[in-house]
């Protein structure tokens, strides 16, 4: 599995780093010919709030909710380093009445790349197709309640408490999406995320059902959609 992940990461780095550099070289070639508009290194920052996470309780039947926001810096209208912070909570009851609850902060660091091709000698445009990477982390405590062992043959039950378990989980995300300036300095956009855990669960241990910022921990990758509204400063 680790080999698989490293293979994906290498392919991703190749796609997201080498290809934009090639594109930049092509862009430089055009600039020489056309005297294009000069682009500043720093072009302000944008604060985003995620609207899609507000709707997440509808999909989880109220078992989970999550709020998140982000701060993104615009470098050269091409590279967008980003910090995302959020708060998530879960309170789930299984069919056998086993309960799971947690609530914690989570954070992500990463970068988006603007894939929008700038036309010759045109001014920088504020709408973009983006691709990016995130490294997410959450340190949280959780409880698994009402775990009962029942012996139908010999009779008798035993309750096993799994309280206040502390853990730290890390994951990476691959992102693709769109950002559009809908009014002056106001941005709206969506992105699709594929999340993959880097911290693996320990077999036969009370692993968390839900990881703040990552979602339901089913042992596989997770998909998520963000729909954001932002203001550019």
């Amino acid at each position: 599995m680790l080999k698989k992940i490293s293979k994906y990461i290498i392919s991703l780095i190749l796609c997201l780093v080498i290809l934009p550099i090639q594109a930049q070289k092509r862009g430089q070639h055009i600039e020489q010919k056309t005297d294009s508009v000069k682009v500043n290194l720093y072009n302000g920052f944008t604060v985003y709030a995620d609207l899609a996470s507000l709707a997440s309780p509808l999909f989880s039947k109220g078992a989970t909710y999550s709020y998140e926001s982000a701060l993104q810096v615009d470098l050269l209208h091409k590279y967008y380093p980003i910090v995302e912070l959020g708060f998530a909570s879960a309170n789930k009851l299984s069919n056998d009445n086993i309960g799971f609850n947690t609530n914690a902060l989570f954070g992500r660091l990463g970068i988006d790349f603007n894939l929008q091709k700038k036309k010759k000698d045109s001014k920088p445009i504020n709408n973009m197709f983006q691709a990016g990477l995130r490294l997410g982390m959450s340190n949280f405590r959780y409880n698994i309640t009402n775990v009962v062992i029942t012996d139908n043959y010999w009779g008798g039950t035993e309750a096993i408490p799994y309280n206040n378990i502390s853990t730290t989980k890390m994951w990476f995300e691959i992102i693709a999406g769109v950002r559009v300036e809908i009014a002056k300095n106001i941005y709206m956009g969506w992105s699709v995320r594929n999340k993959n855990l880097l911290s693996k669960d320990v077999a036969n241990s009370p692993n968390p059902w839900y990881i703040p910022g990552f979602g339901v921990n089913s042992g596989n990758s997770n998909w998520a959609i963000n729909y954001v509204l932002g203001y550019h400063f």
Binding site: C15, L19, K92, D96, I98, F100, I149, S218, N220
Partner: protein
């Protein structure tokens, strides 16, 4: 926008998509745990000085956990299935081999393994000691101490007649 970039990203997302799967709140993990004992007959040939061990098939075997109402009788069997106690570390059985009754006391250590929210907890065992009366049984040997999902097809105890 370059189509090339879009294709790369879509390919990457699709490749990860193959690993994801929905959580349908059903337990699909193997939770079958069973302790099996095989019954053997040992014969010694003084001429050749060779000891031969053969699996013994009995007309009827009845197993009852002492203190339980459960009595299980099987015909033409050469093995016994024991249900070890999940709560305490001792399981006592009364076993009738055809018409001869023996008591089998199994001392074991229980391990609680949490599987998931959907599956709950699984109890596995490690057999420490087996003590028996010796009416039908001559001796016993523990061949596989661990009783878990990966040993369900294995014989944990050998009972010699």
């Amino acid at each position: 926008m370059s189509n090339k970039y879009l294709i790369y990203i879509l390919l990457l997302l699709c490749s990860f998509g193959g690993n994801s799967c929905s959580n349908d709140e059903q337990c699909r993990k193997d939770r079958y745990i069973v302790t099996t004992a095989g019954i053997y007959n040992v014969t010694y040939n003084p001429t050749t000085k060779i000891i031969t061990t053969t699996l013994l098939s009995l007309d009827s075997i009845t197993v009852q956990g002492i203190g339980t109402d459960s009595i299980k009788t099987k015909k033409n069997q050469s093995s016994i299935i024991f249900s070890l106690n999940k709560i305490t570390n001792e399981s006592d059985f009364r076993v009738r081999f055809n018409e001869i009754v023996d008591t089998v006391k199994i001392l074991h250590t229980n391990y609680n393994s949490y599987l998931s929210l959907e599956c709950g907890c699984l109890v596995t065992h490690s057999i420490d000691t087996v003590i028996t009366t010796n009416h039908f049984i001559d001796s016993v040997r523990i061949s596989v101490h661990d009783v878990n999902t990966s040993t369900s097809a294995k014989e944990n105890i050998k009972i010699y007649n």
